[in-house]
Amino acid sequence: MNTMKSVLIIGIQGALAKITTQELVKKYPRLKIHGVDSREIIDAPKGKNFTYEKIKYSRTHFEKIFREHEFDTILHLGRLGHTLIKRNNLPKNINVNLVSTITILDLAQKYSCKKVVILSSYHVYGAHPDNPMFLKEDAPLRGSYKYAELRDGVEMDHMCTNWMWKNQNEIETIVLRPCNIIGPKIKNSMTQYLTTPYAPVPLDYNPLIQFVHELDMASIIVKAAENFKTGIYNVADDDVITLSDAVKIMGIKKMKVPIFLIEQFAKMITPFWPFPHYLIDYLKYPSTLDNTELKKNLGENFFTFNSKERIASLVKNNK
């Protein structure tokens, strides 16, 4: 078990990072936490052992941080989401997700950190008609076949896993690939889609979807930092739900239209609202995860929220 004393959290401005910080503090009141982000840091959890700084994601800045603190654990939760990303932001994405990530990994090794936890996403697998139900960790990463927006995420995942196996004898690295993280504080493409009343739902497709609650996800990140072995872990519950059932629980009246109309609608609104086009595939085809590896570490009944409760938490927040 990794006994944490000093943790670096990358992407502290993200809701999940803040929840994870609170989770860490609950368990380790004396833990030193240093949070960094390239965005303004607002409303981060306060504590005498917490320090935060807004930095430019460059080698110089990261090196300075690693020199000044003796981190034993790195939580890399700083992957940029795709919801608000315009195509002309792709170079920035690639810089954050790839160049910064490899810099952090190299520095973690150089400064003798014990553990690195990296947050990837189930989007790396892609949603395809020939996806088997329950994708295992060794399934091919086909997320970027059609969508450039997902290319950096897939490449980052590939890069991290390659690095992880190459350096497995020196540093423990964990790559987490969670399904849709939802909760009152999380703002990603799925939560926005579910809570937006005018976002239509497909009439001709009804894929199965998995959700993980933000609090469960934060607990899993902490558990991963504590005692997961080097490897890749899908994060999802056995509980799957159809898109139409999820929308029903939300209780928002949504227009049901054939998927080709949603595709056309998405093209029309793109200049005004950067709609993530890849999401349409996730409204058509399944991309559900096998959780056997996760269960080996967490046991059978780890998740505190079921699908209904996870979605219901969004409803409460939406009212």
Binding site: M133, T242, P286
Partner: protein
């Protein structure tokens, strides 16, 4: 019919509860669908099922010949297994990727029990105690020209490896009467390839003719316990040939007793 609905409802409730299963089967939709299909199954195709006694209360890999240009045979077999047996069950047909990706049809087939024909899906379903329906002839079986009707196409080997892995018995099934849904067919193979379709049959009738259908269920075939799923092809071929032979015999028996459309209309 009411009694069959009641029995199926009970089975769905006990087996799946109210929830959608992980492969998208929706118990309520299955029941709604059954109510719609039954009149077609019973009155239009006049389906008869033989060899019910061979089906015991345990999961099977149901292996059938594939006929009829469009997969109506799968619908009829699943309806028969859901309603006519002492131990009803929802068979999970493993279907082509092309069908699953179609709008509306893909959704409907998933909600009523069909699953993408994938190794992982098949093994996971069998592990959960579900019975699966496979057509080892694949598209070649269903898309035949008139002159090749009822000629069994060579079986692929994947199904037998999955049966060995999961340890279930194979239940051979033969369907007669389905080839006559479209009695005159020409396969537009080149055009199908150009349009990236699995098959493109051309027939004078668009709607299937009311050919009476007979479903023959053979005796379950148990694979030897010492057979490895990684066995060489030649070790498996011996068993595949035996299963093929069993289905051929059922087919021959069915074709001898075949009921024709004309006789049915006269009646």
């Amino acid at each position: 019919m009411q009694q069959k609905i009641k029995k199926l409802k009970e089975y769905l409730q006990n087996h799946y509860g109210e929830k959608t299963d992980p492969w998208g089967l929706h118990p309520k939709r299955v029941l709604e669908n059954f109510k719609k299909i039954w009149p077609i199954y019973h009155n239009y195709f006049d389906v008869r099922i033989h060899g019910k006694i061979n089906v015991k209360k345990r999961p099977y890999m149901v292996v059938s010949n594939h006929t009829g240009q469009i997969p109506i045979d799968a619908i009829l077999i699943t309806t028969a297994f859901a309603s006519e047996l002492r131990f009803p069950r929802i068979l999970r047909p493993l279907v082509e990727r092309f069908l699953i990706s179609l709008p509306f049809f893909g959704r409907w087939s998933n909600e009523t029990g069909a699953v993408l024909g994938d190794r992982h899906n098949c093994l996971n379903l069998l592990k959960r105690g579900e019975s699966v329906l496979v057509f080892p002839e694949g598209v070649k079986g269903i898309s035949k020209n008139t002159k090749d009707f009822y000629k069994l196409q060579p079986f692929t080997r994947g199904f037998i490896r999955m049966a060995i892995t999961s340890g279930v018995d194979i239940l051979p099934v033969a369907v007669t009467g389905a080839e006559e849904f479209y009695p005159y067919v020409v396969q537009m193979k080149r055009l199908a390839k150009f349009l990236k379709l699995p098959a493109l049959p051309l027939s004078p009738n668009l709607i299937p003719l009311p050919s009476p259908v007979d479903i023959f269920i053979g005796k379950a075939y148990s694979l030897p316990k010492n057979l490895s799923p990684d066995a060489l092809d030649k070790e498996l071929d011996e068993h595949i040939l035996k299963i093929e032979k069993q289905i051929k015999m059922l087919l021959e028996e069915g074709l001898k007793k075949r009921r024709t459309i004309v006789a049915r209309l006269k009646r």
